[in-house]
Symmetry: C2
Subunit: 200 residues, 2 copies
DNA sequence: AAAACATTGACCAAAGTGGTCATTTTTTGT
DNA sequence: ACAAAAAATGACCACTTTGGTCAATGTTTT
């Protein structure tokens, strides 16, 4: 199967699952959106559940990819977080809904899939979040700021910034140099706030 | 009709509309959740659309209430934002989903209601966001920080903080003094960052 | 005890569901 | 050029759910 077609199916299916949840998600809508026939979809996947778990596995693999792309030698928290942000942005060019899809899994409560979801997500959450902050040099932080709170503010700022940018653009393709500069200025504001005077 | 019952219906209906969007939202689910009969629902509202627009109007009124409760004499941006945050928190005690519902309206694309939604929301967005920042004293800000960016960081931090707290608690009732103190410490971090030395 | 009002849920036609499969279209190997 | 194999189609199915109705039943008020 052509990769472009596969992407179309994956994105259409994720869109529908995100919008409607597992049970109400309509395979009819998916095939319409992906521009394939109903028969095709059920040739590739034996049933709706099968498709759903394929998407989950696919999403989990994509998340894993983030960790192999992170440069663990970068010990500065701002640079590390920026890295993660831009890796995510790149992923969203191909699969715009993959993070929404993963988020939707946490809220899914269809009896039919709930337990399997929890099983598949247990690993990603336990190991996941800690790994992003591995080998970070916390010593640059001012002593009177709790690292956890600084980290939260930084994270919320990046998430908010990203959402704002995504709302502004129409396509993930037209992401320019302006975005880097804009994010840099936010970074500078918080750096001056969190770091001891003179550092970095 | 007893106000407690009315609340039950409103919250059940909002829950379903948020979860499923206008078209897929099931009136059957609503009556089940609100513990009333199908007949009752359609006595109060002539049809689904009618119910939907009632909820929108209700939500808009609630938002309006925020603005009358804000103390416009408080010229400090941090205190102003904190006020808004706590007013919102109080609203959510009664209507936990009202903000999610309003947000869901922006993503709604059912042909049947789209144009009317845009009409009803036009005002709230145009006038709304500006009003929160009316009469703020920006002179305390360090000159090398763009007010818009400081405001964004502050807003994102408050939103992130609120989401974190809401995820932690099971009921809006058990909001204690600890929350105030925790938010205060975030406020202090950002104040020291954004304000000229020695101010406030 | 009668009149007025509120609430119920079985019922309906219509639409939508996940999934099938005989048939057609496209690709492949020679 | 042609046949065999593979891929794609969409009408079709039995079944569920939909928004909405309304005669019957319960509850209040007069």
């Amino acid at each position: 199967m052509k990769p472009e077609k596969q992407e179309r199916i994956i994105n259409a299916a994720m869109k529908e699952f995100v919008k409607s949840g597992y049970e109400k998600a309509s395979t009819n809508e998916m095939v319409k959106d992906a521009q394939i026939s109903k028969g095709s979809l059920f040739n590739y996947f034996s049933n709706k559940k099968d498709l759903y778990f394929f998407l989950i596995q696919n999403a989990v693999n994509i998340i894993e990819q983030i960790y192999v792309e992170i440069d663990m030698n970068e010990r500065d928290i701002f640079e590390r977080i920026s890295q993660v942000g831009f890796i995510k942005l790149n992923i969203q060019k191909k699969y715009p809904l993959v993070f929404d899809f993963l988020k939707s899994l946490l809220e899914e409560d269809a009896q039919d899939v709930k337990s399997d979801i929890n099983l598949l997500l247990a690993n990603i959450q336990k190991n996941g979040f800690k790994r992003i902050y591995e080998n970070i040099d916390w010593s640059k932080l001012r002593e009177d700021i709790e690292p956890e709170k600084a980290m939260n503010i930084l994270n919320w700022t990046m998430t908010g910034f990203a959402e704002l940018q995504i709302a502004k653009i129409t396509s993930f393709e037209d992401i320019g140099i302006g975005l880097f500069n804009e994010w840099d200025s936010y970074k500078e504001i918080l750096k001056r706030c969190f770091y001891k005077n003179g550092e970095e």
